[in-house]
Assembly symmetry: C2
Homo-oligomer: 128 residues x 2
DNA sequence: TAGCATCTATTACGATTGTAGGTGGAAATA
DNA sequence: TATTTCCACCTACAATCGTAATAGATGCTA
């Protein structure tokens, strides 16, 4: 399981750790908007499961509370996400782009940004 | 359940109907590559579940075999897919594009195609 | 120190997904 | 017609996910 598959809720928990550094369960729970915030033990369960998947680990303890930190990087998790998503489209990029554009998810600005990113990237690769 | 969520296998079954027209279970099963092809009854189970979700229906009968046809359009299904996917990224397009580019899934040609699509689309919208 | 608040650890349960076996009936074929 | 093949329908089961309750341990506070 080199790149574990994470569900949406698991992703949200990882996001808390990625952007907020090592956190306790309670702190992770509080990163969710009050409206519809999952119960403490729900977050706890998911954290334990993420631990089993080696996506995070117990870094240290404060009082009797464990502090968890991400093991899996945001980038790796998102790579897996993208791969699965492309798999849903038969691995072909074209229909994905078409869908994004048709549905209005992809704006002209996004495309311009993408071009710039591509340019920067190919430059970096040449330099390296 | 206006736009039902479909799993990967369900998607593949729908894909068979979208591209192959109304089909019997056996025919759907045979659209899968021999290597790793799911059992007949596996396909059957998924078809029944898609029926419950109103993603397809029994169109007619040939002999004692039912012929199924898609009710849900490919476009609608993919829209749902994209929405869920974006939801995983917090609904922001930017990190998605960044990820696609970093991972090499999005090539310069894809971006050029995207531009053309965007132009055509804005033209069509103006005309309409 | 007694009690309240907070954590941990364990257990449970329904829904969804992928997987498929078994049984009985219908159709094609020998 | 007898037999083989195919199909429909029902049932089952393990894994994952979201949800959370409960019980027991620990730590803070009056």
């Amino acid at each position: 399981m080199r790149l574990p598959k994470l569900s949406k809720l698991e992703l949200q928990i990882m996001e808390a750790l990625w952007s907020g550094g090592p956190l306790a369960i309670r702190e992770i729970q509080e990163t969710f908007p009050q409206k519809g915030r999952p119960a403490y033990t729900t977050v706890q369960t998911m954290v334990y499961r993420l631990e089993v998947k080696k996506a995070l680990r117990r870094a240290r303890k404060i009082g009797n509370a464990h502090i968890f930190e991400a093991l899996l990087s945001r980038d790796a998790a998102q790579r897996r996400l993208v791969d699965d998503f492309l798999g849903m489209f038969g691995g072909r990029m074209q229909p994905v782009m078409a869908q994004l554009i048709e549905a209005g998810n992809l704006t002209p600005k996004d495309v311009v940004d993408a071009e710039k990113l591509l340019r920067d990237l190919s430059k970096k690769r040449k330099d390296a």
